[in-house]
Symmetry: D2
Subunit: 365 residues, 4 copies
């Protein structure tokens, strides 16, 4: 069964394994006329690159994107945009010792049962490198959204027990952990040092804010905007929870607290006095900022000794060597942004035909 394609009109298909020739993506359905180049996409990829700090792996991958199709004279042509990032620094030998056993917290066992065998090198298809393709596609989506005045901004909300307590957007790109709170970033760094010294890893939470999203986007039932976001975000490896707006806190709240009163803005437009809903009501954007929080589990590859079983059905001990981030979150920030942008781009394009009067604007005489 095919599960590597996502989206209805803005459609993304990814491919590639961590230790194959490369990873890539085909973005089909991007409108013609959008300025696009490798230079515009590369900065998105650079944000998820390893080797940026002590807390990301030391692999020195350049991860340079190449556009293979769909762009002519600096603009999208409306035909599929194929992008590729070649794999370079692969060290296949690092993984040979895990070919025959199932790493706890990884997809190894599931792949073996599902397919009968697996590409065990570096996680194969479920490697973190698969997210390169998502980020490249998300870059295209983000550039499209910018043309419509929509901005997607994600950052690290917490690492282990360390929560951000203040919000300074400029600070996000200022620290290696992508936290909007410099003090929290320092505390989190100290916490990660401790995890590493104990051969352990940490989980964390990414928060994503969408501003400028017009009201009226999303479909009422299965393709609710939050439902599509739910699929998109849960499809990122290591995600264990997703919240929109107040999320689980809403479950403990009263209706009188949780309802957002509608009011008129100074310019006469409808606005909400609060945003417990996180910008989505009944699956449709309400014009407020969209707020998504995502829980990432701790990196499953840890250096301490673990118990597991092998393909021969024997219980064995496992020590994972090699280079692994002590926390997934900082590099996942741009991935969450990418998946969010892809969902919004698709929802905006598919939502163009909601009203007959809009259809007539395009096709009417």
């Amino acid at each position: 069964m095919a599960g590597s394609t996502f989206g209805t009109v803005f459609k993304v298909t990814t491919w590639g394994e961590s230790h194959g020739k490369g990873v890539g993506v085909v973005v089909d359905g991007c409108p013609a006329g959008l300025a696009l180049s490798e230079e515009l996409i590369q900065p998105f990829l650079d944000r998820r690159k390893p080797g940026q700090s002590r807390f990301t792996t030391k692999r020195s991958e350049s991860d340079s994107v190449q556009i293979l199709s769909g762009v002519f004279d600096g603009k999208t042509t409306g035909t599929p945009i194929s992008m590729i990032v070649y794999n370079q620094d692969q060290h296949s030998k690092d993984y040979s010792n895990i070919a025959e056993l199932y790493r706890p917290g990884h997809a190894d066992y599931g792949f073996d049962i599902k397919y009968g065998f697996r590409d065990y090198r570096g996680g194969g298809r479920s490697s973190g490198r698969e997210t390169i393709a998502r980020v490249a596609a998300g870059a295209v989506a983000s550039l499209l959204l910018r043309e419509l005045g929509v901005t997607v901004t994600a950052y690290t909300r917490s690492i282990g027990p360390v929560e951000t307590e203040t919000f300074d957007e400029a600070e996000i790109q200022n620290n290696k952990l992508y936290m909007p709170d410099a003090q929290a970033a320092e505390k989190a760094a100290a916490y990660l040092e401790q995890c590493m010294s104990e051969k352990d890893s940490s989980g964390g939470v990414v928060e994503c804010i969408v501003s400028g999203m017009p009201a009226g986007v999303g479909e009422p039932v299965f393709d609710k905007l939050d439902a599509r976001l739910g699929q998109a975000i849960f499809s990122i490896g290591a995600v264990k929870g997703v919240e929109i707006g107040d999320g689980f806190a809403a479950a403990a709240a009263r209706g009188s607290e949780n309802n957002d009163a509608f009011a008129l803005a100074e310019n006469g437009t409808v606005t909400k006095q609060t945003n417990h809903a996180g910008g989505i009501l009944g699956g449709i954007s309400d014009g407020s900022a969209i707020v998504i929080r995502t829980a990432f589990k701790p990196t499953p590859s840890i250096a301490s000794l673990q118990k597991t079983v092998n393909r021969q059905g024997e219980e064995v001990d496992l020590e994972i060597h090699g280079r692994h981030d002590p926390v997934i979150v900082p590099r996942a920030v741009v991935v969450v942004e990418a998946m969010t942008a892809i969902v919004l781009a698709d929802a905006l394009l598919t939502g163009m035909s909601s009203r007959l009067e809009n259809v007539k604007k395009i096709w009417g005489n």
Copy 2:
């Protein structure tokens, strides 16, 4: 854009508004040969029926399902199963006063902006009655899963601040709140009485457990089992958060705590010593129980006075009359079960072709 269809091979299409002629569903792609009848489906619908207790609305809807196609001689034929539940007790007049304004916490504003106008009677397409169609489809999926030894069980995990503390499966059907803990159910009932007396409502959490799920189901990337569950569950109205396994708690955990060690069961099969993952690793089922938690916001229709705006762009006061549940959760339990069952049925059917040797079992000579 069409957003009322869900699934790839086991495909569900719903239709209907709360105050139209009825609500219904077409289930396409159910294998031929499954025993099916209205008697087998009705018990699922009865669990979401209003009027069962003080905490569900007093509307006396019979909500009897009729099968219109796809069943012959008591078995599914493999062709689409169309089911309908006619609306009966509609009281359209109750809603006439809200036709021109936007209820806080509801989809009214989004619908008006998206479509230019809306069926304002009882929430129209985003009414809770839309879930009847999901439950009917979920019943078919559940019956199919039973044939494969898979059981889906949901229950109320918390209502407002009241959490279940013990788990007695038999108790779930014993109290009106579908809680597996009789004492918690009593406390929750008292809490709801208080909410009602204060013209207020409460949120809550539904937990869903899947047992008997074979390992190896789900697709590695966008159609991860948890991603499909994420879309399915977030597509239920009023859902604000979804967790798989430890969920947000995993974000605060260490890798050494969160990783589930693989081990051998007594019968020699691979098992996990813990289940922080909630039965899904890398998007693929791992043979452990699948665990999903869902946060529902408080019922937005509350009797106390609220501030809002109307279609004419004026700020107005709103008092909602009529019959509304003080909490969504008890009636949502079976809806969560239904959406989960639909996702699993689809994943099992689409996953049949993962291995060439399985394809040969069906089509080989």
Copy 3:
């Protein structure tokens, strides 16, 4: 596997068997604001009704459509439009003698092999009654197209050896065979009398012309406009061939004959001096009339003795009694129109986002 849904944004799902409770369709994705009522749809259904002439079966089915959802205050709401036609005149006993054997030219054998058993009453899901659902959906599509100035007109091009030789559009609705040539219609009627007297049936060809279609609609590769039409038309029972423009004659032609020279119309717009292409070049509409021809095989149910086998694996003789049209074509005319309209509506809606400037027209500030 689900195969009863068609379309991307304008999405149609049909259900129902000839001898179940009814047949129906859910149209999801129709823009909000289109005037719609049962009165507007019924005339389309009346054109495929049996009992209209000596050459259609004498079953007196009223085939009245009911709209169950998606319309409010006389207009579509943007939510799914569910329509149903109840079965009335079913005569199940007529079919009991064929339950155990495979009628030549019918789907009986395929159904039994595929599903393990079948609803043998009147063809079940592959009955001609299934087309009622297509026609109801096609009516919605046609009404939408009218708003955009697009008209779809189908008629009988030939019956057996009798070809239409002149084209008088007004004549189409004037004779029971829907031929645009009164003389040909008379000859065809005589030919059908002869077929019937010989317990035989005839094939025929339907031609469909689309006028007013804007240029630039359709997608370059797999969703070429002709490819979608190809699927849609071949999905009608009994279709054995489809041509666009010159069709098979183009295969015998020279490039110098077959190429349509572009020229300027008096109003300065681009036009073609001929239309061998049938209005589609490279899968995209070129602004000329779209021309589709469809070959229907003869009605397989004939009264003469036929050889076949039964489910027990014995060779047996078969005599089909009951009421069957001697030719499928006249009642298929409106079905071809319907499927064509559905394809065009979907292509127009999905094609709204081809240009960034069009996206900005809808969502830009």
Copy 4:
């Protein structure tokens, strides 16, 4: 809108323009465990390569396929198979004179209207080179079908007025025109010489035969096997007509002639005494050979002077230089085979779940 993806479970996504960096395809959903390598795929591509004879263009493209993902240890892993063929011999300058005008018979005008501008080099996305991606994907599908005993064989049925009159399968690969009749191939070659000397081109017909196809494959309504074939074949550039079995001849036939009597084969299995149906009844395979005929229009690029208009809205004369095949058909033979194989592979995989007993074979305890 995205139109570059085809298939449900065996899903194919193509990308690339004739004068971009290359063309490629992602095949997602191929079962794991199929032997696959570049050596197994290349022979399929070699059959559509230009430069093989006087009647194909003299461009010396090597068209070597590279597999970038989805294969490990010589077998498919079940994850997406990405394949690429780099463009080499591009001669962009040949096309500069046509950037500003619309070639008759080409998609130029449609692209400009649809997207606002186009990649005019060599047809861009609607170039014949796009079929490389289809052939590579079709090779994977063909290799999968072989494992199930299904063989797809296409050949040239006619070129212009020259029809094959005898059928010798061995002869197909023996002549440059892929005709199964050596004498017809000679006549056709002479006819093409004449066309070329007159600066003209010819159309032709490809016939495709599928043997070994099990009965019971295909879906009853919109995804009838012939409907999916109809979309797939019409999605090939230059196709103007498709027939299944007797095709348009069936429209002129009587039911008594056209019905295929069922009978018992010597081994007791059900068979048909004739095959007017072309192996598909009611959209489901009936176990006989599947027979598809496809009409290709003449190559639109001809050397003689043509009338057209330019982007500035002026009528102009056009002389096309450069290298163009005088007939599309010989190189299209393998493309028809590819698209047929893709449809059948997808139908076989999606059809695995038609019966509950088959589902239990894979997932039951």
